[in-house]
């Protein structure tokens, strides 16, 4: 999956350094209230939350010290879009 590369103003939980990066879904965690609505006191819609795994090579590129190490991040499904070939080592 690719994390959407959007940078909208306002409260977004999806880390900026992962936007536009490609990872693979390690597991699905179930529905959780959308923090983008909770942050403004709005009624929050329950959305699927995914644990997504990224390689350091994907996140940091040539600057990566340990390219095959991975990092997991929990990202709501509306921030993910299908991508070609996941970078699973």
């Amino acid at each position: 999956m690719r994390v959407r590369a959007d940078m909208p103003p306002g409260h977004v939980r999806t880390p900026g350094y992962l936007r536009g990066k490609i990872g693979w879904v390690e597991r699905t965690l179930g529905p959780f209230p959308n923090p983008e609505q909770l942050a403004y006191g709005l009624n929050a819609q329950a959305l699927p939350l995914m644990r997504v795994r990224f390689s350091m090579a994907e996140v940091w590129g040539d600057a990566s010290e340990t390219p095959t190490d991975t990092i997991d991040a929990e990202i709501y499904s509306h921030w993910l879009e299908p991508a070609e070939a996941p970078h699973a080592p």
Partner: protein, 101 residues
């Protein structure tokens, strides 16, 4: 923050002052009463921008965020807050009666 160099991470424990404990308690009370969520707290903290993280302490940022959220929730107005701050300032630089115990 934001991938910038943060220097060494201190591992020793440190004591919190009374006002810091009160800020923590206020956050828990206000959110348990439904005035805002931890997401609301984070939103205001992140909106403060980088400078706030250089110039304000952890609980100074927290009380600013709690205050902003409580005003947005309509718990009190800025005018009411100003009036209360004047009353507190009139006590002097200590905690007033609490400090004389």
């Amino acid at each position: 923050m934001g991938g910038g160099a943060a220097g060494p991470v201190p591992s020793e424990q440190h004591d919190f002052s009374l006002w810091e404990k009160r800020v923590d308690a206020l956050m828990i009370i206000a959110s348990s009463k439904g005035h805002f969520t931890v997401d609301g707290l984070r939103r205001v903290l992140e909106d403060m921008g980088e400078d706030a993280f250089e110039t304000m302490t952890y609980y100074e940022r927290w009380i600013a965020s709690v205050n902003q959220n409580l005003i947005e929730a309509g718990v009190y107005t800025t005018a009411e807050l100003a009036q209360r701050m004047t009353q507190v300032a009139a006590r002097g630089t200590t905690y007033g009666e609490a400090a004389s115990d």
